[in-house]
Symmetry: C2
Subunit: 334 residues, 2 copies
Amino acid sequence: MAKYRIALDAMGGDNAPVAIVEGAKLAVEEFPDITVQLYGPEDALRPLIEGSERIEIVHAPEVIGMHDSPMLAVRQKTESSLVKAVLAVREGAADAVVSAGSTGALLAGGMLRIGRIRGIERPALAPVIPGRKKPFLLIDCGANVDCQPRYLQQFGLMGSVYMQSVQGVPRPEVGLANIGTEAEKGDKLTREAYALMSAQSAYIFKGNAEVRDVPAGDFDVVVADGFVGNVILKSIEGVSSLIMGMLKDSLRSSRRARAGALMMRPALRGLKNKMDYKSHGGAPLLGVNGAVVKAHGSSDARAIKNAVRQARSMLEGKVVEKIRDGLDGLSAKE
Amino acid sequence: MAKYRIALDAMGGDNAPVAIVEGAKLAVEEFPDITVQLYGPEDALRPLIEGSERIEIVHAPEVIGMHDSPMLAVRQKTESSLVKAVLAVREGAADAVVSAGSTGALLAGGMLRIGRIRGIERPALAPVIPGRKKPFLLIDCGANVDCQPRYLQQFGLMGSVYMQSVQGVPRPEVGLANIGTEAEKGDKLTREAYALMSAQSAYIFKGNAEVRDVPAGDFDVVVADGFVGNVILKSIEGVSSLIMGMLKDSLRSSRRARAGALMMRPALRGLKNKMDYKSHGGAPLLGVNGAVVKAHGSSDARAIKNAVRQARSMLEGKVVEKIRDGLDGLSAKE
């Protein structure tokens, strides 16, 4: 019998349901110890999975769109693929849930339906982002604005556990996103969070992570208020696509440059892949009482497979249990 | 007689005093209507300006270093080049001040010694940043953390006046940096600032500027709390240098790519210049009762000349007067 049961929202994302179903097939092929439950309209999904083993369909006729209010959708669209997939984890019918649908609805569903780990006040969204030296986890990326300092202290624990258990970093180094490196830098929130993070023994706090240096990858985990984390994430996305666009314009600016670009194509493609944070799978929602992964809205089959792998790694790495175990260390320095 | 007297901190910045003095020479050459006052040790500066017209030296034996506490330095190092240059504006001996030295000390000096425009609660640092379509002013970039909503409303006015009077944008469009475009998006600060900015008639408020789209250049002015603005600025810097570094690595990765890169060199150099926000001069400190420009610490002579030009344009554009005139429009929608 399969060890892990992954609930997959078959109707979430730009390429649903085909890419989601194809991703499920790739995932069961790669991981013999999982089953995938596809949530969506039975008649739409059935023809897509013919002959596949370890993939089952759970009928869910409703779909949550990108324009639905997340809170309302979770409360009212109880027959939607996203809500039913989330509820499966709550009810013990599945071990983890993956969706490429509405981020807000998945957050709301995770928090309201699965619930928080006792002792964690705010679950947080935490994508792994490619840095120059190594990838880093940015937590929180938008689940919570107007954070309290102790939320940030808890984010550090959740991020550290994830990077250790799922990404295999032996001793993750945690930094606090800030506008300077000295302890007294920042606004009220970061100064108070700095003090709390310095006074705990649950993870390795390495001080302030100056935002300019964050993309270099000096830290394994970068902690921020959800507003600030979202600003960092979107600045990275915005500048990356700006530079890529300008680069393309430059390359087309002369015949000579075009010829050069043609010769450089493999190198440039490598660069593009390195910058493409989507290929790193989805973002875990950490702090809820289960494994929840938000796949990118534009996920293709490979990205969905990676997100399923990530959910499986969270189960195998016992992320929820380890976050729970680490909570004691937050209140006291060893 | 020269129309504008610019006080220049000759000892501030990585390349002081030589690059500063050379910049002063370029500036007086380009602008016949200015004089430059060089603040610094007489004996160090005298040999550098021999034969120059419209450049005078004002002796200032002390230097404020990058490791001095800004507040203490402004209070105690009263014989420093930076403090004396700032005081010259306060006392009417100069019309504007430019420094490539400590940002913190220049901010503290500007606020404490020159003082605020009556009605402006927090002066703000506001560099012009290259965007894909057009450059934009990012205000505030770090002078104020923990802002109140009405500070942000005032930043909009100051930024709009600057872009109109100095950069020649006829009807500057002001956006509020946020993590989504809808009015209800963001944290407490941005939601309240959104309401205040919507309810005024001093400038054109175009709503939330989603951070991902900021580098595209859809807005002329982007308003943010100093912490968030600094995060945006440093993310842009960090990602730009990351991508440039990765690009360099890629180009060197194979003989074929190297050959291609050689052919593309002119196009790539154009791209680099476009991304180099330093060449756009310094950042004005808006909201103080005078023209104050912070030049980049690594400024060369050309950058210093550009910063002096900027100070001159602020005087010619009557930025202080226009900010004062605009204040009435903040409290009422026409």
